[in-house]
């Protein structure tokens, strides 16, 4: 979707994207020639359609949406990124091990963390270290 300032015949540029409110994103556009501003307000349906493409809206970095960017987050709600470092079952992550998990793209990370925590619990580890991660890799044939 593109917006044109009719009096100036100039394409408008995104100026701001406000955080979503009940599924609606507010995007303001301005005309680089005359400075005229307008806002596009999406309905949840439109927001969902665009976010389903796996893209972000806005000029600078990702815009947080009501729907987490992780496409699998609905099925791994217990393993969301905002989960505490200490998992409910009492398994802790060392900073080094947690840092290594940052190497996994965002959409897989919650699932991978949940899986490693399960592996750690079943293996009798109370703390997930780099060594435990290597142990998991070996167990999973990597």
């Amino acid at each position: 979707m593109k917006f044109l300032c009719v009096p100036c015949d100039q394409p408008m540029k995104i100026a701001t994207v406000t955080p979503p409110d009940r599924g609606s994103i507010s995007v303001t556009y301005s005309c680089p020639a005359c400075g005229y501003e307008m806002a596009m307000l999406t309905n949840p349906f439109e927001t969902q359609l665009v976010s389903s493409l796996g893209v972000r809206v806005g000029p600078e970095g990702p815009v947080e949406s009501d729907a987490p960017r992780c496409p699998f987050s609905g099925m791994v709600s217990a393993a969301r990124e905002d989960a505490p470092v200490e998992a409910p079952a009492g398994v802790r992550w060392t900073p080094e091990a947690a840092a290594r998990m940052q190497g996994i793209p965002e959409f897989v990370r919650p699932m991978a963390k949940s899986g490693v925590e399960k592996f750690a619990r079943e293996s009798g580890h109370e703390e997930i270290t780099l060594a435990v991660l290597d142990e998991a890799r070996a167990r999973f044939g990597m």
Binding site: M1, K2, F3, L4, V6, D9, P11, M12, K13, I14, P20, R22, G23, Y29, P44, F45, T47, Q48, L49, V50, S51, S52, L53, G54, V55, R56, V57, G58, P59, S65, D66, A67, P68, C70, P71, F72, S73, G74, M75, V76, R100, M101, G103, I104, P105, F107, V108, M111, A112, S114, G115, V116, F119, L133, A136, R137, R139, F140, G141, M142
Partner: protein
């Protein structure tokens, strides 16, 4: 007044460029994959996943480097079939490293970390309208999977497709012209009809359709060591205008092995495993003709 096509970009989000970038990332990640083989049907319940798993195991047993992308997000079975329930992808030096089955097949399957009785659910701000965006979301997720995994050099990457003729064509478009297809049917007239529709749907595309596998082609009776009919014989049935790669009798032992995630190459020598091994050989020959 300028028209849409007179304007470069979309004012800042560059949605189209982001989508193009996703495709480039996928192409880079798959650059070491020699052959992409989508195993589909159109019909559900014909054994696409079983055939996929068996062919992957058979090819790995021949020394080929093989992986499976379980594209059936709503009915993922490959994790269980390969003995990788609970195995999760973990970070490696070049991306996500895949869990490997005992027979050496790399596997990405949502079933590895989704509870057996849990339906796949996507977070949404538009509840109640999932029929309008769900497929888009699934393909975006598959794209992220393909772009993020360190597939490395592979001889064959199998895609285990979900059922549905429309899904078959969607995956053909998503995977691009270079992806070859193997279709799976069972001897019933209904199944052959659905698969014929998939063949027709794929016909306008450039994707090579290597042939079909007739699964459940009779059943193997271990007591009498014979294959007996499982479906009524069909005369003058729907013709499938593509090569038959082979016929696989139903084998409870194979079903058991899939349920338990056993190593394909450890299975006893039966008419079913022999048929699957022969199909794997024909598949390799077909792929070689593609270059």
């Amino acid at each position: 007044m300028k028209s849409y096509h007179d304007i470069v970009g979309d004012g800042g989000s560059n949605i189209l460029e982001q989508v193009a970038d996703q495709k480039e990332r996928i192409a880079r990640a798959l650059s070491g994959v020699r052959h992409r083989v989508a195993v589909g049907s159109g019909k559900g319940g014909v054994g696409k996943s079983t055939v996929t798993r068996a062919l992957a195991g058979a090819l790995a047993g021949r020394g080929l480097s093989v992986a499976i992308a379980d594209a059936d997000f709503n009915g993922p079975t490959q994790a269980q079939m390969t003995g990788l329930l609970g195995a999760v992808p973990l970070p490696g030096p070049n991306g996500i490293d895949l869990p490997r089955s005992r027979d050496g097949v790399g596997v990405f399957s949502v079933g590895g970390f989704l509870g057996e009785a849990e339906p796949l659910d996507f977070a949404s701000v538009s509840r109640g309208d999932s029929h309008t965006w769900r497929a888009t979301r699934e393909f975006a997720a598959l794209g992220e999977v393909l772009a993020s995994v360190a597939w490395g050099p592979l001889d064959v990457l199998f895609f285990d497709l979900p059922p549905g003729t429309e899904r078959t064509i969607q995956y053909a478009e998503f995977l691009g012209d270079g992806a070859a297809f193997v279709l799976v049917t069972i001897p019933s007239e209904i199944s052959r009809g659905v698969v014929a529709r998939s063949v027709a749907a794929l016909a306008p595309r450039r994707n090579p359709v290597l042939g079909y596998v007739e699964n459940m082609s009779g059943y193997y009776c271990a007591d009498c060591d014979r294959v007996k009919p499982l479906f009524p014989e069909v005369r003058d049935g729907v013709a499938l205008d593509l090569p038959c790669l082979g016929r696989v009798p139903f084998d409870p032992g194979l079903a058991f092995a899939c349920d338990r995630g056993l190593d394909f190459n450890d299975l006893p020598d039966t008419s079913a495993t022999r048929a699957l091994s022969a199909i794997a050989g024909r598949l390799v020959e077909s792929l070689e003709t593609l270059g």
